[in-house]
Structure formats: structure tokens, C-alpha cells
């Protein structure tokens, strides 16, 4: 029973991290209608940025997150403004393909720049954990979970309450009408993509504190982000939290009860089932 409780706690904590990974993907997908296959590669870049900030400049990985976020935002803004804006009105398949090409470029540039070695971000408190009755809660994972939830809720408030957030939602609903009301879509698309990539950067920094990083982690992470966005739906950031925690729990339980190699089978199997049975997500509106 203790083992099950421990697995459930681990699953939920992992789910929080998954949620913030998928948040940027869901935002870009929902607003720009781009399924960003390079999202995982940007998470990987964020993780390396965080690693260099920590090991070269000695900045604590959690305190360095704002720096990572700002730098990644600028990168995302530039990519959308200088590249993706030129294909965004083309067929859906073109954006799928170009972001895929971007994924390949980022992965192999990272391999050339950082080498293929495994790395971890290991601050002094990385091994600490908080005992809680019979189970233990790893401190770094708990902090990552807290930041993930905090940012997701902040994102929700930003989209609902601020002028810029309203402009983003308006553009998602109707590009032409938003344009008529004075929204500059080129800038707004770039800002939205920048926010998505900034979130990916933060997710990468958090990922680096709980798991190993190498240049090839991107593709699997993108696939997981999809699964989460599909399970949670694209309508609100809160759905993404639910999707992340559901996926974290499913993976942890599948590894416990079926076997270590079945974590991914379970999560992608659930993805296919949800797609077939409820294409708008578990929480999404039925159409």
C-alpha cells in the first residue's frame, strides 16, 4: 500500500512537470493552429541553457528560470517572426513539416554544440527529500511541481484578464475580426509563439533538475506533450494540468504493474483511445 501511495505521489509530481511542458504546445496549437513538432527540442534547449547558467555562471537552476524564460521568449519570437509567419497560412501539413525540420536542425545543432553526453543539473539540495509518513517527497520534484502549477495558473489569469491575453484569445477565435479591432497579427503571433517557447524553456530547466538531458530528448517529449494536450483539450490551461497529471499517473502505474518498458505504450495507447473516442479532449467541448 505504501508503494502504491509513493507511486501515486511520484505520478502526480511528474504530472505537474508534464503540464508545464505541454502548456506552451497547447497555447501555440490553440491560438496559431500550428502543431509545433519542435516543441520538445526547445525544451531540450531550455534544459541546456539552464545547465550552462548553473555550471558556468553558478546561478541556481530555480533562480535562473526567469533568465531562461526571457532568452527563450526572444528566440521563439524571432523564429515565428522570421520563419513561421511565412508559412502559417499554408496547408496544415506545411506547418507540421517545417516545425519537424526545425526539430531536426535544433537536435543536431545541439549535438554539435553540446556533444551527445548525458548531463544533469545537480544543485546541492538535489538529493533532499521530505519524509511524509511512510512515503518520501523529493524536494526538487516538489519545487518543480509547485512552479509548474503556479505558472499554469498565472497563464490562465493572463489569458483571461490582461489586454494582451484577450488579444491572443480573440485572434484564436477569429483572425479577421481581431485584425479589424487593431491587433497586429504578425507581432501577436510572434508574441504567442515566444510565450510558448519561453514556457518550454522553463519546462526544460525544471526537467534538467529531475532527469538526465541529452540532445535527443526532444522527440519523445513532443509526443508526450501531444498526449497531454489531447487528453486535456486546448480550451484552457487548467485542462493541461489535468492532462499532465493523468499522463503522469498512467505512466507510473503502468511501470509498476505491467513493466518498465510499458510506460510509453500506456501513454500513447491512451492518446490513441482518447483521439478515437473523444477527439476534443477528455474535458473539451464535444462538437
Amino acid at each position: 500500500m505504501d508503494l502504491l501511495a509513493q507511486i501515486l505521489i511520484n505520478g502526480i509530481l511528474l504530472g505537474g512537470l508534464y503540464a508545464i511542458m505541454a502548456l506552451g504546445l497547447a497555447l501555440v496549437w490553440g491560438v496559431l493552429n500550428i502543431v509545433n513538432l519542435s516543441h520538445g527540442a526547445f525544451i531540450m534547449l531550455g534544459a541546456y541553457l539552464s545547465w550552462y547558467l548553473y555550471s558556468w555562471a553558478g546561478i541556481d537552476p530555480f533562480l535562473g528560470l526567469p533568465i531562461t524564460a526571457v532568452l527563450m521568449f526572444c528566440l521563439g519570437y524571432a523564429v515565428q517572426r522570421g520563419l513561421l509567419n511565412f508559412v502559417v497560412r499554408g496547408p496544415m501539413f506545411n506547418t507540421l513539416l517545417i516545425t519537424f525540420g526545425l526539430e531536426v536542425v535544433l537536435t543536431y545543432l545541439a549535438q554539435l554544440a553540446f556533444s551527445a553526453d548525458f548531463r544533469t543539473i545537480n544543485p546541492s539540495y538535489a538529493g533532499n527529500s521530505i519524509p511524509f509518513g511512510p512515503i518520501v517527497i523529493p524536494q526538487a520534484r516538489l519545487m518543480a511541481f509547485g512552479i509548474a502549477i503556479l505558472l499554469t495558473v498565472a497563464m490562465w489569469i493572463f489569458l483571461l484578464r490582461t489586454r494582451l491575453g484577450r488579444a491572443i484569445r480573440a485572434t484564436a477565435q477569429n483572425l479577421v475580426a481581431a485584425r479589424l479591432y487593431g491587433v497586429d497579427p504578425r507581432h501577436l503571433y510572434a508574441v504567442t509563439f515566444g510565450i510558448g517557447i519561453g514556457l518550454a524553456g522553463v519546462a526544460g530547466g525544471l526537467y534538467g533538475t529531475v532527469s538526465q538531458i541529452n540532445p535527443y530528448i526532444g522527440a519523445t517529449l513532443t509526443a508526450k506533450c501531444f498526449a497531454i494536450a489531447i487528453i486535456g483539450g486546448l480550451d484552457s490551461p487548467l485542462g493541461v494540468i489535468v492532462g499532465g497529471i493523468v499522463l503522469g499517473l498512467i505512466e507510473s502505474l503502468a511501470i509498476l504493474y505491467v513493466g518498465a518498458t510499458f510506460g510509453d505504450v500506456a501513454s500513447f495507447g491512451v492518446l490513441v483511445l482518447v483521439l478515437i473516442l473523444r477527439p476534443s479532449g477528455l474535458l473539451g467541448k464535444t462538437t
Binding site: 513539416l97 517545417i98 543536431y108 549535438q111 504578425r186 492518446l271 483521439l275
Partner: protein, 315 residues
């Protein structure tokens, strides 16, 4: 196709068929892998190029075809052709059984569902004893590269003739109608479900046969290489680079990109992969309908062709 083009096509095939007699071992081996990739691209062309359903799961068919041959020859001691039939049957059955639910999805959702399915199948297969689990299967070696070359060439000709038949048959027009407007096609009396599943099965059939030849040629098979997800990427890029929804585009794409990647990977492997990524990005921006469309329209609009493409799709 008029008479002149037929003659040119026959000459091209005849020249290609002579390669094993003149080329070195390296050329023939490069030829086999390029021809097999061209078959995969042509197979993808049927479901992705003509029916407009961007499958990211065709690697599964390739893997099933490869394992059909490996299981028949290693586990059951059967001849090669039985394995080819077995693999093809598995792939077609898979295409029909999973195509029925998955082909109901559209756009991004179909692409993602097939990608996820490909990963699920790869993970499940590596835990089945019949498939050799993670250790893999070793096939009886046959050092006859010329034969494998001719088989791959024959398969490519068969796939290309099938795609050519699509451009002039009721079935092919139905697929194009589905790509352009699925509701419209249904209203005009196209049985969209049957057409899509059939296109998926046909696409799977050719991919599986290519997998079977590859397995016997390489003589070693494990789940990681047979169900390699990145194979999808190669076939899609080659088709899109050459021209999706055209008869010869995928072949041109496969030959051009394989040749460039072969030259580059003799330097550094990661540079070749990087190059693939850059080609995709540039191709989507500058020539989203592939080389075939460039050839068709470049004469009329010259260098403006690329600017026109950007103007058509930018925000």
C-alpha cells in the same frame, strides 16, 4: 502519358536494371537502399499525396513486412516468398483493422494518432518472443546483391505503375476528391471510408514488401531498427521534396536526397541529418508543392516562382 514518355521510362528502367553489371559493390548497395526508400516514398504518396492523409505510421508496415520474412525464415524455416506474403498479409490486415477507426480522424489528429500507434507497436513488438524480443533475429545470409537490387527495382516499378493507375482510374479520382474536399466527395457518391482504407492498405502493402526485401538483404532484424520511427520522416520528406500527389516526384525526391545525404554522411553523420532538417525548412517555405511543381511552373514565372509561394502563405 504519350508514346515518347513511355519509351523514355522504359529506357530509364532498363539503364537502372543494368547497374549491377557495371557498378561497384558500393554503388549497388547504395542503389538497393535508395530504391527501397523510393518504394516507401511511393507508398506514402498513395495515402499522403493522393488521399491527403499525412500518415506518420507507415514505418509500422515496413516493420511488419520485415518481420514477416524474418519470422517465416528463422522461426518456421519457410522460403523467402512465403515470408513476403506473410508480411504483406500482416501489413494489410493492420491497415484495415486500425485504419477503420484512425482514418476517421482528420488533419493533425490523424498524423498524431498514426505516430502514436507506430510507437505503441514498436514497444509491444519488442516484448513478443516470436519477434526475437530485444535481441533480434538473424536470417540465413545470401550474398547476392544483384538479385536484391533487381527485386527492389521491380517493386519500385510496380509501385509506380500503381500510382500511375491512380491518376487515371475511378479509384484515384476518388482519392483526390477526398483530399480536396471529403464532404464534397461523399456527397458525389464516393464511398470515402472504403476508399481511404483501401489506399491505406495499398500504401501498407508496398511498404511491407520493401521491408521484406530489406530484412533478407541485411540478414539481421531487431525491433528498434525494423520499427524505426525516423523512417517515416525520410519517406515523407522525400515525397514532399519531389512532389506529393505526382507519379515521379517521390522517386526523384528519394534519389536526390539519398545521393546528397550519402555524400554528406561520408564526412560527418550529424551534418547529413542537419542538412535534412535545413532542406525541409527551405523546401516548405520556397517550394511547398515539391520539385515537380517547380519544373512545371518555373518556365513561366522564373525566379518569381519562389516569391509567389512565400506571398501565398505568409501572414
Amino acid at each position: 502519358m504519350n508514346g515518347m514518355r513511355w519509351i523514355l521510362a522504359v529506357i530509364a528502367v532498363a539503364v537502372l536494371a543494368c547497374v549491377p553489371w557495371f557498378g561497384s559493390d558500393v554503388v549497388v548497395q547504395f542503389g538497393i537502399s535508395t530504391l527501397l526508400l523510393a518504394v516507401l516514398a511511393q507508398g506514402w504518396n498513395i495515402i499522403g499525396g493522393y488521399a491527403g492523409y499525412a500518415s506518420f505510421g507507415n514505418s509500422t508496415f515496413f516493420g511488419l513486412g520485415a518481420y514477416g520474412v524474418a519470422i517465416a525464415m528463422v522461426q518456421w524455416n519457410m522460403p523467402f516468398w512465403v515470408g513476403m506474403v506473410f508480411g504483406a498479409v500482416m501489413a494489410v490486415a493492420f491497415a484495415i483493422l486500425l485504419g477503420l477507426p484512425v482514418l476517421r480522424l482528420k488533419g493533425h489528429y490523424f498524423a498524431i494518432a498514426t505516430l502514436a500507434l507506430a510507437q505503441v507497436v514498436a514497444a509491444i513488438v519488442s516484448n513478443i518472443p516470436l519477434f526475437g524480443e530485444n535481441i533480434g533475429l538473424v536470417l540465413p545470409p545470401l550474398n547476392n546483391d544483384a538479385m536484391f537490387y533487381e527485386m527492389a527495382l521491380a517493386l519500385l516499378v510496380a509501385a509506380t505503375l500503381t500510382v500511375w493507375w491512380l491518376t487515371r482510374s475511378r479509384f484515384g479520382f476518388g482519392l483526390i476528391a477526398i483530399r480536396e474536399n471529403e464532404e464534397g466527395a461523399a456527397v458525389m457518391g464516393v464511398n470515402t471510408t472504403a476508399y481511404k482504407v483501401l489506399a491505406f492498405a495499398l500504401s501498407g502493402l508496398f511498404s511491407a514488401l520493401a521491408g521484406g526485401i530489406q530484412a533478407y538483404w541485411i540478414t539481421f532484424l531487431d525491433p528498434a531498427s525494423a520499427f524505426d520511427i525516423s523512417l517515416n520522416v525520410k519517406m515523407i520528406i522525400m515525397t514532399v521534396f519531389g512532389g506529393p500527389g505526382t507519379v515521379l516526384g517521390p522517386i526523384v525526391g528519394a534519389f536526390v536526397l539519398s545521393a546528397i545525404s550519402e555524400v554528406l554522411s561520408s564526412e560527418i553523420t550529424s551534418v547529413a541529418s542537419l542538412f535534412f532538417g535545413v532542406v525541409v525548412v527551405a523546401a516548405v517555405v520556397l517550394m511547398p508543392r515539391g520539385l515537380a511543381d517547380v519544373v512545371r511552373r518555373f518556365r513561366k514565372s522564373g525566379w518569381h516562382y519562389f516569391a509567389e509561394n512565400i506571398r501565398a502563405h505568409k501572414l
